[in-house]
Symmetry: C2
Subunit: 326 residues, 2 copies
């Protein structure tokens, strides 16, 4: 650890979610020294949000020795733009849905001018994985987050891919079914996210239940209330239909990863998020499908890994890792 890190041994991470904003003060080994949180919603404008956040933050900053101990802050946020440090037209944030909010600058001004960086949550996860997780030492990998949506963070030559405008890495919106594709929240059809997110898996469950009369534990539930967690529980109990839902989901993910490899030929795909808790149930079909679909010269080369970060703190760790890069 260099002198500067000894003097400023911590970074702040902010996982800015649709419901909660979770803050952590993190050291260079990824240990969270202090945490706090506020509700994300309930503010009429961004200024009020930042004020409330900084008020909560000051308490934990004091716990670790004051702002002089903080090197920087990183924010993982929906629709975050790394180049500008802004949140742009985030549909789920009342105080940011119709504007470009210079959130990084606002936090920096309230925190004695420390550098503040911001990117979307999946990119933050990728940086976190590279800093503290299973991607340490990797120069080329792709992080895929399987949550309510499908997100991605792409690392090429050791650097996050932000693209020309700061919005690269939207692999959840690559088209995987061009004919009769499912409607996606983005307004188009056939996106990866419409099949392989938690909601996509629930949708597959409802489709499969309608298409056959096969017995399944999932028939005990109201179709509209089935979640990906229910599918996972049923599959673990040996439910054949539930297992086929994972096979179907993994098949599509494997096909998509095969195309991603033609693009950047990563050393590894790293999966993160609720769906990954199903373990081999989802990972085995992904790998099988990938090997079947990938171009011959790439076969057998890429690793398929599950995130090495603890789920509860991963988002905060990922966000904090941006701070070390500033």
């Amino acid at each position: 650890m260099d002198t500067q890190n000894e003097m400023k041994p911590y970074v702040i991470g902010l996982d800015l979610g649709g419901t909660n904003s979770v803050f952590g003060i993190v050291d260079s080994r990824g240990e969270i020294k202090a945490t706090t949180a506020i509700k994300t919603q309930g503010f009429s404008n961004a200024e009020d949000y930042v004020s409330a956040a900084v008020e909560a933050l000051r308490i934990v900053i004091d716990q670790v020795g004051g702002i002089a101990k903080i090197k920087a802050m990183g924010i993982g946020a929906p629709n975050g733009n790394y180049y500008n440090g802004t949140i742009e037209f985030a549909p789920n944030l009342k105080w940011a849905h119709d504007a470009s909010i210079p959130l990084a600058k606002m936090f920096s001004e309230q925190l004695g001018g420390i550098p503040v960086g911001l990117t979307n949550d999946a990119n933050a996860a990728a940086i976190g994985e590279m800093t503290y997780g299973v991607a340490r030492g990797m120069k080329n990998f792709i992080m895929i987050t399987l949550g309510t949506g499908v997100g991605s963070g792409i690392v090429v030559n050791g650097q996050l891919v932000y693209g020309h405008d700061g919005f690269a890495g939207e692999l959840g919106h690559v088209i995987v079914r061009r004919e009769n594709g499912r409607a996606c929240g983005c307004g188009r059809n056939g996106c990866l996210e419409a099949y392989c997110s938690a909601t996509g898996v629930a949708r597959t469950a409802r489709e499969f239940l309608t298409q056959t009369n096969e017995a399944s534990l999932l028939r005990d539930l109201k179709p509209e209330e089935i979640t990906s967690l229910d599918v996972s529980i049923a599959a673990e109990k040996g439910d054949e239909l539930a297992k086929r839902i994972y096979d179907y989901t993994g098949e599509i993910l494997g096909e998509a990863c095969a195309d991603f490899t033609a693009f950047s030929s990563p050393e590894a795909f790293i999966f993160f998020g609720g769906l990954v808790k199903a373990g081999d149930l989802i990972m085995n079909p992904i790998k099988r499908s990938y090997d079947q679909h990938v171009l011959k010269i790439f076969r057998g080369k890429a690793k398929f890994l599950i995130s090495g970060l603890d789920g509860a703190s991963a988002a905060v760790l990922g966000a904090s890792a941006i701070g070390w890069e500033l």
Copy 2:
């Protein structure tokens, strides 16, 4: 120009094609000072090929003032691996089809130890475009070569994307049609190359001619002899069916580019190769399809450009540009 470049003002470029190997000695502004060529085939092993190449090269090297004036050499070759400087199992090269040939090292040894770099032809084209062409100053762009096959060179953060194994950027083998996709030379079905290469366009022509009875200038030709050049000539004469062939080709390219943007959000797509000679006939459908299919946040941002390099010398220039990077 720095002192070293004044002393060593030239690089050698080698465009190693299936038929001819074309060499150029190039200055830092992309001017070709001398050229020579040998046949690529007819050698039973790689040593004989390199000896013949160096024999031809020595004459032009002497013309520009001897090997002391040469900074480095760049090679664009099929199945070229940048990391190893090898050609690996190139199916169309008799002296390299069943082995990994350390071509960069072999040339370097014969040329007084100058640095020699090697990559595939599409990557070389991308580096050439960045060094001498329309991509000067761009940090994020995608080069797509539409020739006998479909190749690509991807630049992210100002660097070529070689991936973990040196083989990244195979966008011709992204799957664009998952159901009933055309068979591709790679052994899979539905690849971009099977639709949007010169041979893909000729195939589309034969399909369209079979599917309708519509009058077309292309009916004057034997179906199996139709080439993409014939389609281009017919379209320029106003042939409606020929124009629809370009619309169809451009539609698929636009869909594919929309997916590529979700990956790396490039500032520009740059097209090169025989098909591009059709100009607006192919470029307009690509742009139209892209705008229709790309995710909303990317709409209207990317440029669609035609290569700025002279077709005849572009491959040599591209290869030579690798030399400046070494």
